[in-house]
Symmetry: C2
Subunit: 440 residues, 2 copies
Amino acid sequence: MEHTPINARVPDIEELYTLPREDLATSLLDRDPASLANLFAQLGDEALADLFTKLDPSDAAHLIRKLSRAQAAQILEEMEMDDAVDVVGELEQKEAQGILTAMHPFEAQNLRELLSYPPDSAGGLMTTDFVALSPSVLAGQALIMLRESGEQARRIPYFYVVEPSARYLEGVLSLRELVLSPPNTPVGELVVRSPIKVHVEADQEEAALLLDQHNLRALPVVDDEDRLLGIITADDAAKVLLEEAHEDIERLGGSQPLEEPYLRTSIFHLFRKRIPWLLVLFVAQAYTGSVLRLYQDTLAEEVALIFFIPLLIGTGGNTGSQTATTLVRSMSLGEVDPGDVLRVMAKEMGVSLMLGAVMCLATIIRAWTLGVGIGIAQVVGITALCVVVWAALVAAVLPLALRKLRLDPAVISGPFITTLVDGTGLIIYFNIAHFLLSLK
Amino acid sequence: MEHTPINARVPDIEELYTLPREDLATSLLDRDPASLANLFAQLGDEALADLFTKLDPSDAAHLIRKLSRAQAAQILEEMEMDDAVDVVGELEQKEAQGILTAMHPFEAQNLRELLSYPPDSAGGLMTTDFVALSPSVLAGQALIMLRESGEQARRIPYFYVVEPSARYLEGVLSLRELVLSPPNTPVGELVVRSPIKVHVEADQEEAALLLDQHNLRALPVVDDEDRLLGIITADDAAKVLLEEAHEDIERLGGSQPLEEPYLRTSIFHLFRKRIPWLLVLFVAQAYTGSVLRLYQDTLAEEVALIFFIPLLIGTGGNTGSQTATTLVRSMSLGEVDPGDVLRVMAKEMGVSLMLGAVMCLATIIRAWTLGVGIGIAQVVGITALCVVVWAALVAAVLPLALRKLRLDPAVISGPFITTLVDGTGLIIYFNIAHFLLSLK
């Protein structure tokens, strides 16, 4: 594997190409203006467009600000439309306008249209580089049009057939289909009608999931009246799914996702991302103090009950966390949805009874090694069983309910379920203790 | 968006194409043999190859068992090489051999070679569908060869130039470069030498990360002597990264990743995936019982200390979980590696001091609302600060250390750090209590 360490000195152009994204960004952003201008002049527009495509859009926007409007416009024209729109979206309104006016009017118009959609919608993800045909075009003509189209459009293995005046999407045609048909067949006769498609205002994750689930290389994006506005390509869909998965990871860890790489994020920014959840969880967990105060006489009477508090609530939290993450993942893969709630609960009931039985035994063994009496051992064993089942059921229902309410289940699932189970687990514990030990 | 519900009746062929992956699998696997045979006959090899590509390899393997060897062989030949190898990899050794002998010898040989690499290595991920050229081939000839190559190879925008006898990788050439050069230039003069590449035995995640970080559409795979064996395409790399992210999510939740969709996984299988970690975490947490027993006199003397146990260890766990997940994610994106340990610790020290100060205040307020004395309020406030800083530092070092030891940091990071912080947090708590309250 190639591995070029960052030089303390400025790397030359050859070296630049072998730097991974992060190091490339650091190497470019750290340069003084003169060295940067010199480098940009050496590279030329096409190579610069490649370089900017490789960077995160926010870094590319930083660099594009250092170019003249004319050069910035040329580089954006060289970039693929969906990459260019991400970079322009990072600029200030005024900067963006300046650059757009310097661009070819047709490209500028396309970019403006793409910019008008929310970045996390299907419209914000789509590109307008694709080949649309009238139904009357012949198969042979279509192949010629393909050869004349841009590089990006040529990579998309589907043609879209639209009604000529209003661009209603009539159907989709694969390159293979086209090549195998007699050249004088109108494409309108070859298309697959009512193809899989997505509304321009749909969430980008929904669009990405459709591409993934149907193993498509591109997905048409339409408006309310079924007019074809653009397409989403499989590579952009894959990026969205990966981004969402990484955001889920952070949310499950009880933190808001970072926009910038960790090492470049300031301490204060990290603090701001974490403190809200820590405080929310603290407030949510604060009632455990009241529960314990309520049962302080019980605890004074049987001090040994205290020994098992972290163990029992910990086990409940771990069980809940297992169930919740499995369900968050399954929902994000489209395998489970809120309508499956009864099947999920039945399954989790079965699993948690088995888990609970094992944990009951483990807890009794631990009680024995701690040398507490048989009464307490019984209490903690039965509590372990009950807490495990309770945690699994809470963790089964909560993520599905959140999804139903159109909230992101990952936000709340990890530490939140642990916190919820902590207090309710204590209540279960003390009730069982009262019942079995006949305490006051 | 199109949405076709699964019919209770068998869907017709048109409908089949609009089913998402999971529903398609269910619809095909639930059919009786006669209906399946009938459907397969109607579809033809090419459409079947498309259908099988869409399914998970294990489902596709289930279905391919129901075909004759000859038909199975034909369908695998229609599929892209890297998809076909995933399906064959799911078959029993004997079944696979039977089908391979019915295939075209060249394709069978390629498949056998690909099967010989571990599925999670670069070799297991690569395809052998690509265009390799001798350095003496002229640019114009290369373009003709491209037109004659297979559909899959045509989609890859790079050519690989290899030394003709032993296939040493000499360099890479983009389609654009080729088109813009005079047709009578030998490709050997046009290539970029020492391109980014990966060893055939490297982990598939390492290869996928290289593609992502360099924004490549394909990555050459070489052996010890730098011979070109295959290439990895960007779409396969994206799938690997997504799969790894989803596995990280499950591991962070303290469960082993599932191989099958949740609703199709049996209760016993779910049990087996979860019980090992629950027990490991239980054992790891069991010492909290000993810690509490050790300090039982302290607790008897100051019962109010008990009220804050879940709150303090919960806050520590939540802080640790935030840090650990952020680092697991940053490492999986290649943004942070074990060499950054000092920078990470410095950053986490800064962040956790700020977080700790806020949580100290929050805890003191909670102590006041619970009506405990000023002494206990001081103890719990200072403990909150110390536990937050301690948890952040443990969670900063542990994932980096695990990566350094070549273990998956996600395995251990979530519930494990919580568990570790639980017990050590208690020790911090009681020591501070002893010191400030002068208890026995």
